[in-house]
């Protein structure tokens, strides 16, 4: 009898403690710390950008944000569970393009592109091609010339299969009429290590990947529309005559059950941080390109990206 009383008393107490805070208006949001889930391991581009956001998050919202990592299946593990999370706005998740378009195209990803709810895409990292600084290749032309003469001999390390890097490498092969061998690694870190250690001829990574390596790597070309402020000496693929523009967009998504006003509010928070001078200088120094695609422009943006990447992927045999 006594045991039962104790049990129910404890249960009732714990129940009380666990009650969700009463519904609140979007203007006051957030009133407690938020959780920001990254579908990747620590140390990659998503993580560093999120940490930069985290360092000014409190300044803009009055609340902290906690970053958690849920790596698995190139992000698909976390994205396939996004909509199971309570849609109170306090849990948000990093979201990436083209990952969230290419993975469902392949089937079996556990989610569809349209089931995810991005509220803001805040930055972009273009693809870039690297060689170690002691490499014989000083320019992209030399590399292309060598690859033309020796089909398949040029090995390029990149992050993951059927990823933004992989897609970029395939487009490069097509545009230059060459055959290179793409060697997938489990992330940016391991693939950059392979390039630095001369395990491969070069790497097809993001422009940000080599920020920490200083002079040890040479960037031959970057897949952005124009030269990047952080790397004024690096030519774009376009300048060199290859029509390749691509890379990865990163943003923040919420569970589908999140109310409209909270979605808008989170989008506003991210926009506000994107305008923070501190944040801007850190991001630009790191080689990230800030974009500002808020919630209201999202449907149009995603539709356009979907069209572009689906066409690109089809041409390269992904998603057949």
């Amino acid at each position: 009898m006594k045991i039962r009383t104790t049990f129910f008393a404890t249960a009732a107490l714990a129940l009380l403690a666990a009650m969700p805070a009463a519904a609140q208006s979007a203007e006051e949001f957030p009133t407690k710390a938020m959780t920001y889930i990254l579908p990747f391991d620590a140390g990659g581009e998503s993580d560093i950008a999120a940490r930069f956001q985290q360092s000014v998050w409190n300044k803009h919202t009055g609340q902290d944000v906690i970053i958690q990592y849920q790596p698995g299946a190139g992000g698909a593990q976390a994205w396939s569970q996004l909509n199971d999370i309570a849609g109170d706005g306090y849990t948000v998740m990093g979201i990436n393009l083209p990952h969230t378009i290419l993975q469902p195209l392949e089937g079996n990803a556990g989610y569809q592109t349209d089931e995810l709810t991005p509220v803001h895409y805040f930055h972009y990292t273009p693809n870039a091609i690297f060689v170690p600084s002691d490499s014989e290749f000083e320019t992209l032309d030399q590399l292309v010339e060598y690859a033309t003469a020796n089909p398949g001999l040029v090995t390029l390390a990149g992050s993951g299969s059927k990823s933004a890097n992989n897609l970029g490498q395939m487009q490069f092969d097509q545009a230059a009429g060459i055959t290179t061998t793409y060697v997938p690694f489990s992330g940016t870190g391991p693939s950059i290590t392979a390039v630095l250690g001369n395990q491969t001829v070069g790497g097809f990574n993001y422009a940000t990947s080599a920020m920490a390596q200083g002079d040890a790597l040479r960037m031959l070309a970057v897949a952005s529309e124009e030269r990047m402020p952080a790397f004024p000496d690096v030519p774009t693929f376009k300048e060199l005559g290859y029509d390749i523009v691509g890379g990865a967009y990163r943003g923040i998504a919420v569970p589908a059950s999140t109310p409209e006003d909270i979605r808008q509010r989170i989008s506003d928070i991210v926009s506000e941080i994107n305008a923070d001078p501190d944040f801007i200088s850190k991001m630009e120094e790191g080689g990230f390109v800030l974009t500002d695609i808020p919630y209201e422009e999202m449907p149009e943006f995603v539709a356009q990206m979907k069209e572009e990447y689906t066409a690109g992927a089809k041409a390269l045999g992904i998603g057949d």
Binding site: A14, A18, Q54, G72, A73, S163, S186, G189, T193, M211
Partner: protein
């Protein structure tokens, strides 16, 4: 002397306090299986934004090193590695604890961890830039062979029963390939369940395979969990120091191995521990005692895994390439602080870097008093807890730990199912360790193998890529040595049968080791369990083969090869068993209550699968109380039960609050809480 100035800077009260607090917090988190250094560091990073960079780094580094060390407690006391780094600590630490040497094992682990940590940190201090080159010299073939080297430990772990060990390794390797392949991007072996896309989490598998059998066996008998010597001598620091001093070469070799493996970005503490364990076993005159409670096994693993902390910071700080996930988070924290990583860091930010390294050294030394106190407390609680509380508490910790990895109930269910399968397999002589080794090393082996193939094929030099590189040749030689050594040692022992090994005899006097059941193992029988299991594994192999039809060669070559190997080995096992040449596993202990064990497994299963319905807290409270009754062999007064019910509620509430309020994990939204 500039360096002295940095040292004094590391000794400020704030930095000292942060180092101590970090080590204590890290040790506790590391001791709880599933709660990892990565998690603790990730949650605490924002607090360091407001600190000076060096102080923030010291706090994070102290937590990290403490967590790697704390993993030994769970390994020694409940046979469950608190972190993957201490897998090999269970091999000898738990047998030591079972025979009453738990206090000694904890002290030895502490001494070894401090030594290993110091060697790693000193290497970081003195030799970081040249050592960073090691990270670059290791390419895909070297990682492949390193994983193979780790797998050779299976031969040593399953002497007398090699076939079952190899089958276990194949099962583990297949488990490691579930999900999306990193190389090739194919989806494999998921049974079309999206929940398995991310694969089987190593930590939840570790908890299940090692801890669930302990819980099931604990409830079956009246005997105490760990034997307590009548004259419990506390820390036994002097004795431990004596053993460590006699094993100084082991300590140094393991620390250096740990430092070097820590430098490799793709390897980490688990491989460092396993490789050092293999080497210590090979070099030891008492190699037959390894796996039965040999102190050198604990020393080798713990020295190596703490050495990886300092080693891992070398590529992180010099090359900007994080050695391990906690390193990656610390790297992010540095970038937020506006510190440029890279070769110039040691000169441009000398103040921060050297203050941090000295702080790490100080934190490592502080592990000695902090660890001994916490370890003593943990040991005392484990041996003084009544079974009726110990069983549900350990069960609850397995649930908490496997849930915390990804805030995902799926991991808890995988943990439980693998645990029950592991227990059944263990009864038929399939030990969990080969399965775990396969699971831990499978991904590294596969990625290295396929990447090597891609590069070798592109350059038309396949054989040279696999077998022609100097470091690869060295690792292959070491692997062959450790593979053949157990057979050589057996042969030598047979030859010298008449001459007893004097060292072994002397050692046996001071640390009595259970004699190996050589007589029982030699009996060849017609083993029915092996026939049935062999046929099941053959079927599993064919299912795996069918599942990998039609995916790219990159994603299918490795799982198909393993599946074929599994089919062949399992068929051989079944045929041998049918022919009456099987090796029967040790019979289950007498006076064990199968009924209690079965009931406990049912309650545990209900608990785990009720979490999504009731919520983690409510399901755990009910499961906890039910297990309390199952685990009690005597009749107790209602006052005792009331007290235990209160303890149950307090334990569940404390962990629920820790997870939801401190670690801010997303709790499953069930009916209650």
């Amino acid at each position: 002397m500039e360096l002295l100035g940095y040292f004094l800077h590391a000794l400020t009260p704030l930095n000292l306090g942060l180092a101590l607090a970090g080590v204590v917090l890290g040790t506790i988190i590391g001791a709880l299986p599933g709660l990892s250094a990565t998690m603790a560091v990730a949650v605490l990073v924002p607090f360091t934004f407001a600190m000076e960079p060096a102080s923030g780094l010291i706090a994070l580094g102290a937590i990290y090193t403490g967590a790697i060390y704390g993993g030994a407690f769970a390994a020694i006391l409940v046979n469950t590695p608190g972190t993957p780094s201490s897998i090999a600590t269970t091999f000898d630490g738990y047998p030591m604890a079972q025979r009453g040497d738990g206090g000694l094992a904890v002290t030895l682990a502490t001494l070894a961890s401090v030594c290993g940590g110091l060697v790693g940190a000193l290497a970081l201090l003195a030799l970081a830039p040249p050592l960073a080159r090691v990270a670059l010299a290791f390419g895909p073939p070297e990682y492949f062979w390193l994983a193979v080297f780790g797998l050779t430990l299976i031969a040593a772990l399953s002497v007398g029963n090699t076939l079952k060990g190899l089958i276990g390794a194949c099962l583990g390797l297949l488990l490691s390939m579930v999900g999306v392949a990193v190389v090739g991007g194919d989806v494999r072996l998921t049974g079309d369940l999206p929940a398995f896309l991310g694969g089987i989490d190593v930590v939840s598998a570790l908890i299940g395979l090692y801890c669930v059998p302990v819980i099931l066996d604990l409830v079956a008998t009246r005997a105490a969990h760990l034997k307590v010597l009548a004259d419990d001598q506390g820390y036994r620091l002097k004795e431990a120091a004596g053993i460590a001093w006699r094993s100084k070469f082991n300590v140094i070799r393991s620390s250096i191995l740990g430092t070097v493996i820590g430098i490799l970005p793709g390897a980490g503490g688990s491989i460092a521990g396993l490789v050092s364990y293999t080497e210590a076993r090979r070099a030891s005159p008492r190699s037959a005692n390894f796996g039965k409670g040999e102190p050198d096994g604990v020393i080798a693993t713990e020295a190596a895994n703490n050495a990886t902390v300092g080693g891992g910071f070398i590529p992180t700080l010099v090359l900007g390439i994080p050695g391990t996930p906690p390193d990656a988070i610390i790297l992010g924290a540095l970038l937020v602080q506006g510190i440029k990583i890279g070769p110039q860091l040691f000169t441009s930010e000398a103040d921060t870097v050297y203050t941090f390294i000295y702080g790490l050294l100080i934190a490592t030394v502080l592990m000695l008093p902090a660890g001994l106190l916490i370890g003593r407390y943990a040991y005392r609680s484990i041996i003084s807890f009544p079974k009726a509380l110990l069983v549900p508490t350990i069960a609850f910790l397995t649930v908490v730990g496997s849930f915390a990895i990804h805030s995902n109930v799926h991991d808890v269910q995988v943990m439980f199912v693998l645990g029950v399968i592991g227990w059944i397999l263990n009864r038929y002589g399939f030990q969990p360790s080969p399965i775990v080794l396969g699971l831990v090393l499978g991904q590294i082996a596969e990625q290295g193998f396929v990447q090597t193939y891609l590069i070798g094929n592109a350059t038309g030099n396949l054989a040279g890529m696999y077998f022609g590189r100097p470091i690869s040749i060295g690792i292959i030689a070491a692997a062959l040595l450790s593979l053949c050594y157990p057979f050589y040692a057996e042969w030598r022992a047979r030859r010298r049968n008449a001459l007893p090994l004097t060292e072994a005899a002397a050692e046996a006097d001071s640390h009595p080791v259970e004699p190996a059941p050589t007589g029982a193992a030699a009996v060849r029988v017609r083993e029915q369990g092996a026939i049935v299991l062999g046929l099941i594994f053959v079927a599993l192999g064919f299912i795996a083969l069918r599942d990998t039809v039609g995916i790219s060669p990159m994603g299918s070559i490795f799982p198909r090869a393993i599946a074929v190997l599994l089919i062949g080995l399992s068929a051989l096992l079944a045929i041998l068993a049918l022919a009456g040449r099987g090796v029967r596993a040790a019979p289950p202990e007498a006076a064990a209550s199968g009924r209690r064990r079965f009931l406990l497994a049912v309650v545990f299963g209900l608990w785990v699968f009720a979490i999504p319905l009731l919520g983690l807290g409510a399901a755990s409270l009910l499961g906890f109380i039910a297990m309390m009754f199952i685990a009690e062999h005597e009749s107790q007064s209602s006052t005792v039960w009331l007290r235990r019910a209160i303890i149950a509620a307090v334990v569940v509430a404390a962990f629920w609050l820790l997870m939801s309020r401190l670690l801010l994990l997303r709790m499953p939204a069930g009916l209650f809480f």
